[in-house]
């Protein structure tokens, strides 16, 4: 099968549609914390920096957390 990864052009880093205030992608799966951080590393050099920042925020406790458990389904930005 021929690779058709870039058939639709560059990936929309900013989503094509503004869904501000709407929910996060619905994770009915058990996603696995380690696998999530790993994904940043698998994204290459830029991703390693992202992984490091996310890892550091875990250790230092400094974070801007999107609360995925909120009943409202809206992002909660917490600055402890």
């Amino acid at each position: 099968m021929t690779a058709r990864l870039d058939e639709y052009g560059p990936v929309a880093v900013e989503p094509a549609h503004p869904w501000e205030g709407q929910s996060m992608i619905f994770g009915y799966l058990d996603v696995g914390s380690g696998s999530l951080i790993l994904q940043a590393i698998l994204g290459g050099a830029a991703g390693i920096l992202v992984a490091f920042k996310a890892w550091k925020s875990r250790i230092t406790g400094k974070q801007a957390v999107m609360d995925t458990t909120a009943e409202s389904d809206e992002h909660v930005i917490a600055e402890p």
Partner: protein, 452 residues
């Protein structure tokens, strides 16, 4: 009256129900919003036209309790990953990655990554779960990554790198091996490959270290974006494209060169065609199909033909040939059972096949002599299909039976193996419509149908 699909319940935003022969997808408010976004994309139109994504037509009015509803064409035959060959799982994995990359380009992502979202229609993989697409939000990682590795990548590596078939594992544990299990399964040399270090060892270690830690929001705050997902998808796509299975010559891959196969093939084809003409079946099950020669005759006559065999080498070859015959890998003495939630989520193979004609050529003697199934039990099993059959009976004097029994004592064999006794057993449950002796003189074909 709507009937719930027992395999579609995990996602509250979208689930499938049946209205007779119609297949409907009911969406809640969230699912309806996601559909609205997906349906407007160039990606959706292109992929449905290419038949890599199943068509979906919105209903003017949704049933009570649903915000919206879609109608899909019915998938003729549902198969599960433990019934797929290596090349089928590989093509399904590549399709999933390509659709994820394509949808991300238009701000949509796929929220899970399971092979159950893909089915094979006329020999081609088709993504059937339109409800899996949802708007991508900046900062979100790929939620399905871990599931993808467990249900696609690790099974493929198991076969390609370790030489172990993945089907028994997936049948035994539908979620697939964990990264930690996979690390133990890989030999040291393979474990040191870069892909194994990243997707297996590192994932296993990080899962161990970070279990239960809230990181999803932290990633977004640290600058995660869709480009990182695409880089990972691209890496996985290249990895999987390069993964190959080089099957050994199996006991059945050379079957076609056996003397009796070539000699009898035309007679058996003619006999089958007469049965197809008489019964005009819509769904034909070819048991012990080998190279699917007879399944293909049924398909050419307009039937949905499902070729079932326990040999991955021959079925993989059928699939790779581009045949429109559906294939299902299973050992007929141990066919895929009903399993999953409540034992109903994934129905057994025979319940899914629902044949109205069964072909059992070159099979019965293997059940009797190789698998030691008593002839009476074989007939009972044939009757369980509740439809006409064409069967080949091979008598005790046949050369092949001689080989199968070379190391068996007479007392170790079940009674009822000779033609007269077996025909007696058959006649108790079936009416014999047609009969033809083959040139060898030790083989006979019967067209039979259940007694009313």
């Amino acid at each position: 009256m709507l009937e719930a699909d027992p395999g579609s319940f995990r996602d509250p935003a979208s689930h499938v129900v049946f209205d007779g022969d119609r297949v409907l997808r009911l969406l809640d408010e969230r699912g309806a919003r996601a559909w609205e976004s997906l349906s407007k994309t160039r990606f959706f139109n292109h992929e449905t036209q290419s038949e890599r994504l199943i068509r979906a037509e919105p209903l003017a009015e949704a049933p009570d309790g649903a915000s919206a509803a879609l109608e899909h064409p019915r998938v003729p035959f549902i198969s599960y990953p433990w019934e797929w060959t290596f090349s089928m799982l590989k093509d399904a994995a590549l399709l999933h990655l390509e659709l994820l990359a394509g949808s991300l380009a238009e701000g949509i992502t796929i929220k899970d990554a399971t092979p159950f979202n893909i089915q094979f229609i006329e020999g081609k993989p088709v993504f059937i779960d339109v409800g899996s697409f949802e708007e991508y939000r900046r900062g979100e990682p790929w939620i399905g990554y871990r599931q993808f590795t467990r249900q696609f990548l690790f099974p493929l590596l198991l076969r390609a790198w370790v030489g172990v078939p993945f089907q028994p594992w997936l049948r035994g544990a539908m979620d697939g091996p964990t990264a930690a299990e996979m690390r133990r399964l890989l030999p040291l040399g393979k474990r040191l490959r870069p892909a194994a270090l990243l997707h297996v060892t590192l994932q296993a270690r990080m899962e161990e270290r970070l279990s239960g830690t809230a990181v999803r929001g932290r990633l977004g705050a640290a600058g995660f974006d869709a480009r990182l997902i695409l880089a990972n998808v691209d890496r996985l796509h290249r990895l999987i494209e390069g993964v190959d299975w080089d099957p050994d010559v199996s006991g059945w891959s050379e079957y076609r060169s056996c003397g009796h196969v070539g000699r009898d093939r035309e007679d058996k084809a003619g006999f089958l065609e007469a049965a197809l003409e008489r019964h005009r079946p819509e769904r034909v099950l070819d048991l012990g199909a080998n190279d699917a020669y007879f399944s293909d005759i049924a398909r050419q006559r307009g039937a949905l033909a499902v070729a079932i065999d326990g040999d991955e080498t021959v079925l993989d070859s059928v699939y790779r040939s581009g045949s429109a015959v559906s294939v299902a890998l299973t050992d007929l003495t141990d066919p895929s059972p009903a399993q999953g939630w409540a034992g109903a989520e994934r129905p057994g193979l025979v319940a899914r096949a629902r044949p109205d004609l069964v072909i059992a050529y070159g099979l019965i003697h293997h059940l009797i002599y190789t698998s030691s199934v008593p002839p009476s039990a074989v007939v009972h099993w044939l009757a369980s299909f509740q439809c006409p059959l064409v069967v080949e009976f091979v008598g005790p004097d046949d050369e092949m039976v001689g080989k199968l029994t070379a190391n068996k004592l007479h007392s170790e064999l079940h009674p009822g193996r000779d033609e007269a006794s077996f025909k007696d057993l058959v006649s108790q449950r079936f009416e014999v419509i047609a009969e033809r002796s083959l040139e060898s003189g030790t083989r006979v074909l019967w067209q039979i149908r259940p007694r009313r």
